[in-house]
């Protein structure tokens, strides 16, 4: 399918994990993708394999850096149709042991990062009268022990999607989110290490608790992001789609 031919997408956290899979999928469907990552090397690696893509080293939580990337993307392509802010970190700890830094890093990277990217691309999208913003929430928004910072940030993303859908809908911009479940990424591999388990044990235990009896892949999530970024989801806005293999 080439449903995104002629479209320009900006993906933050695009160097790894779900972000990288989103870059590949959007490019497969024809989009020119701006791969934004704090770490220049993985972003360059992703962009190098994708026709029309460009790598941009920037801190997704820094307003000036993100706005500069948006200016450069607009100068190169003339438009921005799709935004997928994927950047974010996990810093789990029991609530009494969670430091201010743990709290701030997670809230800043996920929530402030998404907000900063949205604010930067919105003028271009509303001027075009067209835009597709796809945020990354998580099933952790329902509650996750030991990660009050992450659960709070991801629930915030759902509220952000709904509020922006109301505000930007009249300008032809849809805003939705996906809520991934347990996905094989560096983030979940680190979770296995913290628990002193092998990855295989950790993944098998997670799969047993999922209705479809397998853990997810970044590609599972990217396929749903591509749906929300495309014409088939033109009447879908303000929604959080659970991509978790489970009701």
């Amino acid at each position: 399918m080439r449903g995104l031919e002629g479209r320009v997408a900006v993906v933050t956290g695009g160097g790894r994990g779900i972000g990288a899979a989103v870059c590949r999928r959007l490019a497969e469907e024809g989009a020119a993708v701006a791969v934004l990552d704090l770490d220049p090397e993985p972003a360059a690696q992703v962009a190098r394999t994708l026709p029309g893509a460009g790598a941009y080293a920037a801190d997704a939580g820094d307003r000036a850096e993100v706005e500069d990337v948006v200016r450069r993307v607009l100068a190169r392509h003339g438009r921005i149709d799709v935004l997928v802010p994927c950047a974010g970190v996990m810093r789990g700890a029991p609530v009494t042991e969670m430091t201010d830094q743990n709290w701030t890093e997670v809230l800043t990277s996920h929530l402030t990062g998404a907000f900063t990217a949205v604010r930067a691309v919105t003028p271009a999208m509303t001027a075009q009268g067209y835009g597709r913003i796809v945020l990354i929430s998580s099933i952790a928004a329902r509650g996750i022990a030991g990660h009050v910072n992450y659960g709070t940030a991801k629930a915030g993303i759902a509220g952000m999607a709904r509020s922006l859908a109301l505000e930007l809908g009249p300008h032809g911009v849809t805003v939705n989110a996906v809520a991934p479940g347990f996905i094989a990424t560096r983030m979940t591999r680190e979770g296995a290490e913290r628990r002193g388990r092998t990855w295989e044990e950790h993944a098998a235990q997670a799969a047993a608790g999922i209705a479809l009896r397998r853990i997810g892949t970044p590609e599972d999530v990217a396929a749903v992001v591509a749906f929300l970024a495309g014409a088939d989801a033109g009447y879908v806005t303000g929604q959080v789609i659970h991509v978790s293999g489970d009701p």
Binding site: G169, G181, I210, R213, A223, Y235, G238, G245, P247
Partner: protein
């Protein structure tokens, strides 16, 4: 060019003679599926290569078996879209026992009967995708009085989640779409008045709903199950 992403798949679609069901049949057939198109009223059933039409009442277990026998003759159902539905619009105090029974029978029992029949072959083959048609009135109160319809759609949404949990381990996905107001034979709203409540500023079309249904049927949604996907231009946010 239309991608033949459902080439080789066998689909059963109920309520195929009009509205969303009709749109799903033609879209699936255009993308390569063989479709068993069922409706109580054969008049509107689409005729095209790849479409087998069956006159059937989804509230009749015998009729439902006949629909799936047609799918079995094509190799067995891989996809089921439960789009058959009726609505009665009148105040609660004027709803008759018969109104309640008919609406619940078609919308909720009909979805269950087709789901159960589909699940026989799908679980045996460890693959399959079911999409039910719910409604945003399973989430918000309807602005028009249609108590039986709203209750039936609430039932369809929960049927979706419970069936997903039970059939997931057998490789079968069950999802739903919950459309907002779409002008069809079921629903004829005053367009301007309703569109003002919709953030995207317009009523939905059959195509707006059909595309997400096909997405949920497809491998792009391989790790989505038990989800009720609201397709309403943002109406429920208001």
């Amino acid at each position: 060019m239309i991608v033949q992403e459902f080439h080789g798949a066998v689909a059963v679609v109920t309520g195929a003679g009009s509205g969303i069901g009709h749109g799903v049949v033609t879209a699936l057939a255009a993308r390569g599926a063989q479709v068993v198109a069922a409706d109580l009223d054969p008049a509107g059933l689409p005729e095209a290569p790849g479409i087998r039409t069956v006159t059937a009442d989804v509230t009749s277990p015998g009729d439902v078996r006949r629909v799936f026998a047609a799918a079995d003759s094509l190799g067995g159902a891989d996809l089921l879209v439960n789009a058959a539905g009726i609505a009665v619009t009148r105040p609660l105090l004027e709803h008759t026992d018969d109104d309640w029974d008919r609406v619940l029978a078609v919308n909720l029992k009909g979805s269950f009967l087709c789901l159960r029949e589909a699940a026989r072959t799908m679980t045996a083959r460890r693959r399959g995708s079911v999409v039910n048609v719910s409604s945003i009135v399973s989430i918000i109160a309807s602005p028009t009085p249609e108590i039986a319809y709203d209750a039936s759609k609430g039932g369809v949404s929960q049927l979706t989640r419970s069936a997903a949990a039970e059939l997931g381990p057998h490789g079968v996905r069950v999802n739903a779409v919950a459309p907002g107001p779409v002008p069809t034979a079921l629903y004829g709203p005053p367009a301007g008045a309703v569109a003002r409540n919709i953030p995207l500023g317009r009523l939905g079309t059959v195509e707006d709903i059909v595309a997400p249904i096909l997405f949920l049927c497809s491998t792009a949604a391989a790790w989505i199950t038990g989800h009720v996907l609201v397709v309403d231009g943002g109406r429920v946010l208001r």
